[in-house]
Symmetry: C2
Subunit: 210 residues, 2 copies
DNA sequence: TGTACATCAGTGAACGCGCGTTCACTGATGTAC
DNA sequence: TGTACATCAGTGAACGCGCGTTCACTGATGTAC
């Protein structure tokens, strides 16, 4: 089982989710194709395992980066989280694409992927938890307000609704920046992706009130 | 040729790029599979045609929406552009995924896709062209500054480098928001996607100085 | 201590599927003298 | 006006490929009496 997962991870990293097949995993691991079904019910289940795996690895990566900086400064934390997120994404492009790119056609993500996915958001939001937003002229519709409050409650964050909304916006921006870079939309436009990313991350920190 | 493209568009819209095959297009259009090669050199070329097509359709959509509002107010323009972008994306999810989601494995976008892709960015940036950014404490590294200046020059925009950078950030944010929504990352978090999107779009307008 | 049985990982063949691409060809339409 | 030839859209068969999944099976290992 360990072998199968390892090989599947390797193939995902090398060729992407679309190219992942039970048969080639079996082949590489020295089994006949049908033997894999002793361990995994279907291709979709394998994919689910890999997705959970990737979410967890990413969350671990960011979490330990945050633990390592040992600072109480929100901006530094935010910067650290963003940089480690980007580092992981660049090192695991296919995994990133699997998690945050186009949904795999015909595959419906089961409930089990939610919790590991949430860990990253929790880590990111925690870095802005002590941001002091001078003033929020943001008037929230009831629906959005209650969503935001639910997020804060679920993640046990001491943030008011407008702050949560702002922070969620910053997270979406972050993934927008990453997806643009990793999916090739900055090619020919941005020459220095490192500097550009850091600049934007700092701008987001400011927007968020850090 | 027209028929082939139409059918390919239809299959792309229905099943996504991954499921698009020359054989099924041929079948549906009433040709034998090899006959398609009289019109299209390979599957990749067909994909390229569809990508160019989609970029153009999207740019058209946003451009005409902008032309229709007839306002000189930047914020209204920005809002209009964002809303029409989102409307198109929601109505053409697979096309959106093809353009802005994970890159198709083994497919390298040729030069021909750049121009049509640029039209949208030009339209978006034009809406912030007369934004007045009170003050930009942004210190730009040389590399980023020259990239930004090149963008402004290429698109013939009267924007200083820091403003371009801010605007590009807003565009990335926009796509981050859209991708999150369309790729299912707001499910269970945001209940009222319409309101949430508009709120964030307005926040971006403010950030950008509109 | 030895026999009978159950468990279980892995095998091998098969089903049925769809794909991209090539190639020699037919047969209708258009063109040139 | 009529014949000879060229063009060109489309055919049909084939190559070679890989896939997910099922199913009856073997043979080694472990367990119970």
């Amino acid at each position: 089982m360990q072998d199968i997962l390892e090989e599947a991870r390797r193939q995902l990293a090398r060729d992407g989710a679309a190219a992942l097949s039970l048969r080639s995993v079996a082949r590489e691991v020295g089994l006949v194709s049908s033997a894999v079904y002793r361990y995994v019910a279907s291709r979709d289940e394998l994919l689910t395992l890999l997705i959970i795996d990737a979410y967890s690895a990413l969350a671990d990566h960011v979490t330990t980066a945050l633990a390592d900086v040992r600072t109480r400064d929100g901006r530094t934390q935010w910067r650290t989280a963003c940089r480690s997120l980007r580092a992981w994404a660049r090192a695991h492009q296919h995994e990133y694409a699997l998690l945050y790119g186009s949904p795999v056609p015909g595959y419906a993500a089961p409930q089990d992927t939610i919790a590991p996915a949430t860990r990253l958001y929790a880590a990111l939001l925690s870095t802005v938890a002590d941001a002091h937003l001078a003033h929020h002229p943001m008037r929230l519709p009831r629906s959005v307000r209650s969503d935001a409050e639910l997020v804060a409650a679920t993640l046990e964050l001491e943030l008011a609704a407008p702050e949560v909304v702002t922070a969620l916006g910053a997270i979406a921006s972050l993934f927008g920046l990453l997806s643009f870079e990793l999916f090739g939309h900055t090619t020919g436009v941005i020459s220095d992706n490192d500097a550009y990313f850091l600049l934007q991350v700092d701008a987001l920190a400011t927007t968020v009130g850090l």
